[in-house]
Amino acid sequence: AQEILLGNLFAGAGPFATLAKTNEIAVQMAVEEVNAAGGVGGKRLKIVSFDTAGKPEQAVVGVRKLAEDDKVMAIIGPFSSGECRVAFPAGERSGVVMMSMASSAPKLAEPFTYGLRNTSDEGYMFRNVMKTLQEKKYPIATGATAYATDDVISKTMGEIVLPNIMKAAGTEMKVSVTFQTQAFDLAAQVSELKAMPTDLIGIGSGPDAAVRLAQELRRQGHKGRLVAGSTIADSELATRMGASGDGTVIPTTFFGGANDKAKKFEAEFVKRAKAAGLERTGASQFDAAAYDIVLFYAHAMKEGKVTGDPAKLADERTKVRDILRSMPPFPALEGPISFGKNGDALKPVYIIEMQGGKWNLIGTHASGS
């Protein structure tokens, strides 16, 4: 074969559609770069896409199609934790490496050998947020949490990760309120928070609920600083929160302004997004992660001298897996990255603060710090 195939499981319809679309742009950029640099062992990379519509069942069908029918070397995605949960067992059975760019549910990849995630542990990320706040001497004496309970990541964030790490940093936890991911009216929760104003409000939720919460907090006149894990990191968050987001501090694994490489990537990305009809101010951490996944695969395939010969497919897939899992920190777009025992990436963390509808970098922490 003159080409080596990579599968791409993306959610072309449903609630992740837009995120998936920008991911595709990032993946395409990476593939072009690799091919421009001579491909893998002289062979070009080619992407075979499968739309899961964000549905777990279809993710499984996708894995089987890509692995068994298209005989891809490895799979980029799936996107969400829900899809990963059912796709990883299927990938394990088919013996094909898969790597998610967004799933961050705790310990999800741990039971699998072929399932990897280019995302970082939320605890590790948030610890660095508190570290930066301390370094910058921001007020952190009192804290509260507000989190969604019907989504496992948000719930773990709100019940365990945020309060424990805040307490460890010396913050006194005062209040905790809960809501549902879909809840639109957070007035009741906010008035409860407002009854006992705190310096920090830790948010455990996705970006949408965070936007709602920020707006309601400001509407009711709460001045506390919002802090969160990477669950609310979204490249457009600053635009969406507007003035109500001022002071919000979050960790992210990708920050466009961090270095030249990132700047160049982001500029190109924004250009391509625009060409595809998407107004973006920057790339999200998922886009960067998707981009890096292609680079990891290319690296591992080169390293393993993968030929793409159908007869050796199973062996070569396993080789790719083994190389990835034992890879020394690889100089990726997001920084030097390697994989831990639990299948999740160890990567640098950038701490950013929102000010006037823009993110500013206020701290950088090296991988595994």
Binding site: A13, P56, V61, K65, E68, R85, A105, P106
Partner: protein, 285 residues
């Protein structure tokens, strides 16, 4: 067989089981929007049994169905006090309560979901689907099927003809729950992982749509409906982001042409090669 095809067939088989779960109550005039709730009970119960007691899925899945059936039986009497859209809403509420309860049930993982170790493949799933289909077909070849329709059409008269209306309603509801539970068990054991969010109202609604789209008057309807709803989006893959737009448009157009669903009772009679009353009358004329 291609992995893709097998994957799609698995979905089809599971959807067929779900469709029959909704069909039984619909045939008796009950729009059950809680099918997903019963599927959840069956799915979680069978997964729990096969994981903790190391039962074979072949035993655990029917047991899951029984568990769902017991829940169905327990709630049938109060829930069936309501009628029509009220019944639909009551079952919807029931399904959501089941889902929300599982979300808080830490034995089975709560919001984190529940991993299932045992794994079943297409042949097993297809066997279950076939079993359920044959069962429902047989059931509708008996007086039971007629009685269910009679109860649906006119409760009062059915009662006066000596039919135990309540018993038939409860039976249809409960049997539907059992089948839903089996569907949930199949899902759990093929996808190796279940979470409460999957068993949401959207699942219930799509299942009900299979039946309404396929036609509620015959046993083939649910089969057809499930097939269209599973296969059509696959066939439309080529249309990229317009896939579901096209899918919905096709549904709308089909319903305009065939408001009674794809297949109706009268058609079945015609398809089976039986002379229609019309041609007979013409002959008699």
């Amino acid at each position: 067989m291609s992995g893709y095809l097998e994957g799609v067939l698995v979905l089809l088989a599971i959807n067929v089981v779900y469709a029959y779960a909704a069909f039984l109550p619909i045939a008796a005039g009950q729009l059950n929007l809680g099918v997903a709730g019963f599927a959840a009970v069956g799915g979680y119960a069978s997964a729990y049994l096969s994981t903790t007691l190391a039962l074979s899925p072949l035993i655990a899945i029917p047991l899951g169905g029984v568990a769902a059936g017991l829940v169905g039986l327990g709630v049938a009497v109060p829930v069936l006090r309501t009628r029509g859209i009220y019944l639909a809403l009551a079952t919807f509420a029931l399904g959501e309560i089941v889902r929300a309860s599982i979300l808080n049930l830490e034995v089975v993982g709560g919001a984190a979901g529940y991993p299932v170790t045992a794994f079943i493949r297409l042949p097993t799933i297809a066997m279950f689907a076939l079993g359920v289909t044959v069962l429902v077909w047989l059931l509708f070849a008996t007086r039971f099927g007629i009685a269910i329709t009679a109860v649906h059409d006119d409760e009062r008269v059915a009662d006066l003809m000596g039919l135990d209306v309540r018993a038939f309603q409860v039976a249809a509801f409960t049997l539907g729950s059992v089948i839903a539970g089996i569907g949930g068990g199949l899902y759990a054991h093929h996808f190796s992982y279940i979470e409460a969010q999957y068993f949401s109202i959207s699942l219930s609604i799509s299942i009900v749509l299979y039946v309404l789209f396929g036609g509620t008057q015959s046993v083939i309807g649910p089969l057809l409906g499930a097939a269209v709803f599973t296969l059509l989006p696959e066939l439309l893959r080529g249309s990229a982001q317009w896939r579901y737009v096209l899918f919905a448009a096709i549904l709308i157009v089909v319903m305009v042409i065939r408001p009674q669903g794809l297949i109706t009772g009268a058609q079945i009679r015609r398809l089976l090669g039986l002379r229609s009353s019309a041609s007979q009358k013409e002959r008699a004329a």
